[in-house]
Symmetry: C2
Subunit: 345 residues, 2 copies
């Protein structure tokens, strides 16, 4: 096999009559080397095509310059944006990203944590699964900093960066509910995660502020197929099926809030097929501001999530904690902006 032998520190050293250690120091830019030999070394290293072996390095140094990123589903546009931001920030700081996908399964989550322990990553950014057990504690016990993304599992003493969904929904609902709006429905995902809980809490807060009785309000759970290993994220079909069953000409909400813009697509169709119109008969408020939201008919009022800022903030926080393990726990909830379009009148 032509598997060309890898060029090592010794190879460079031998060729120059130096020790491996000197070459190491020269390339690391430490100050125990004369400028002359440093130049010689880097020239020879480049000539031979020397590439440092990161495993050897992290074996002795204990640091890996790798960050673990645990995501439930990369096809979800919010998480995709998060991945982009996290990778970009890590790259800028000299870190590489090990990507682990859990598909919202506890088993995969446990395997992911195991992998991260084997690798001895310097830190972890992770979205917890629906029924996250205490797997994450293993990382903390091993001295690996963890920043929770998007979904918060309180009481674990872990840093958190996410979106203030509760306030965003509360404000958006109040703002979208004009005069005459009494019946409000929320089309939610059927997951036991903090994000869903936050949206429902925001929804209730809005009801209270508007003085609308709980009986006028409905929280509907759309069966989710996320865990089935499908790469597609939320499916408009599922929301459509549910909405089509419940919405009729005589029984419909004045304002319908959906847990994501895909659900809104399904709702649009269900509403249309009843002969009702958005926003005259039913106002619709989405969540996520996906790229299509501005372009459907009518353009969808929705909540823009600062995925990029969240990713950036999470990496910043993680790097700070890596540098300073004993700093107090931080919990950041970024505000989300309401983008008003025609679907709410």
């Amino acid at each position: 096999m032509a598997r060309s032998q890898r060029v090592t520190l010794r190879d460079v050293a031998d060729r120059l009559g130096l020790s491996a250690n000197t070459v190491s120091r020269a390339l690391a830019g430490k100050d125990q080397v004369s400028e002359a030999t440093r130049a010689l070394v880097s020239a020879e290293a480049k000539r031979l095509g020397y590439v440092p072996n990161s495993h050897a390095r992290s074996l002795v140094s204990g640091r890996t310059m790798v960050v673990g990123l645990v995501i439930t589903n990369p096809s979800n546009p919010f998480y995709a944006a998060l991945i982009s931001a996290v990778e970009r920030e890590c790259r800028a700081a000299g870190y590489s990203v090990l990507l682990l996908v859990t598909e919202d399964s506890a088993e995969n989550e446990e395997r992911a944590v195991q992998q991260l322990l084997r690798f001895g990553v310097d830190g972890v950014l992770g979205v917890a699964t629906e029924l996250s057990s205490d797997v994450w504690d293993g990382l903390s016990e091993a001295g690996i900093p963890v920043v929770q993304l998007s979904r918060d599992i309180p009481g674990r003493g872990l840093d958190f960066v996410g979106i203030d969904a509760e306030s965003a929904i509360a404000d958006a609902v109040v703002r979208s509910a004009g005069p005459g709006v009494r019946r409000i429905w929320l089309l939610e995902e059927d997951l036991r995660i903090s994000t869903v809980a936050a949206r429902i809490a925001g929804f209730r807060r809005a009801l209270d502020r508007l003085g609308i009785a709980r009986e006028q309000a409905l929280v509907l759970k759309v069966p989710t197929h996320r865990t089935s290993g499908a790469t597609q994220p939320w499916r408009p079909d599922d929301a459509y099926a549910l909405a089509a069953n419940l919405i009729t000409r005589d029984n419909h909400p004045d304002l319908l809030i959906t847990a994501n813009d895909y659900f809104a697509l399904g709702a649009y169709r269900a509403i249309r097929e009843c002969g009702l119109t958005v926003p005259d008969d039913v106002r619709v408020l989405g969540y996520g501001d996906h790229p299509f939201a501005a372009y459907i008919q009518p353009p969808l009022t929705t909540i823009r999530l600062p995925a990029d800022e969240a990713g950036t903030a999470a990496v910043d926080l993680l790097l700070r904690r890596i540098a300073e393990p004993d700093r107090p726990r931080t919990s950041t909830r970024l505000p989300a902006e309401l983008i008003e379009r025609r679907s709410t009148g």
Copy 2:
């Protein structure tokens, strides 16, 4: 600091009065160990919470059980689906995924390759950037197998897995062009990549088959903002701006093909604002079958890309090549399916 010392092979060995080597063999399931001690060892290892150090392992074994995945932009839904599929298959085979994002920049691509060399990954799956230099050769020279994804740079002797965009577009255009369709435009991305070239080739092939002169056909390039570090993928706005400038009541195509479904969104608006309708005045054919395509008005005829199959096939191919480095080069182009909806009549 409570940075608990990591449990090592020796710790387990010492506690049982064995050597580290025996513990290693026992846990590796090799046959030089009695069943009795194997049971003892695995019990003690679990009790102490032993986690193998992957760096030490790969330092001596030369294998890392890590695959590099080089992607231009995770927010592109096609690549997001690819990431999901690749990660899933790798996970099933016991490999972890190191994710590198290039943002279509040659500089980032080179840094990515450098990272992969440092890590000594067992294989690489990668989407080449627009003007990919010979950076990928460095991996081959180091004996690291590479499978190109989606975009093919011919002549490098690298395996390739992608979509047969040319045939897909050619067939779809012919099928979408009913009687009376003479003027056909293609709204393309402004990138020098093989995917764009393939679509244009398919477009031309369709024109020839339909007997339409090149003068009746137009290839329009939408300025792309992908490289600007923005996490958003193709922007409908850019397509809208271009289309709105060119399309008027008196000067419009009979059939408009867009390089992706987002462009179709922009085109829809431009067409609508001229007082024209889809598909009566202008038929629209999209590309990608994004989740919203079935739900916009009118539902968009588009081409469904087998991202999942592509990812699976690519990983299979890579694993085969890892096992058998000297097998002949393979180039796979998966067929894409036309999803006919109302936008083409």
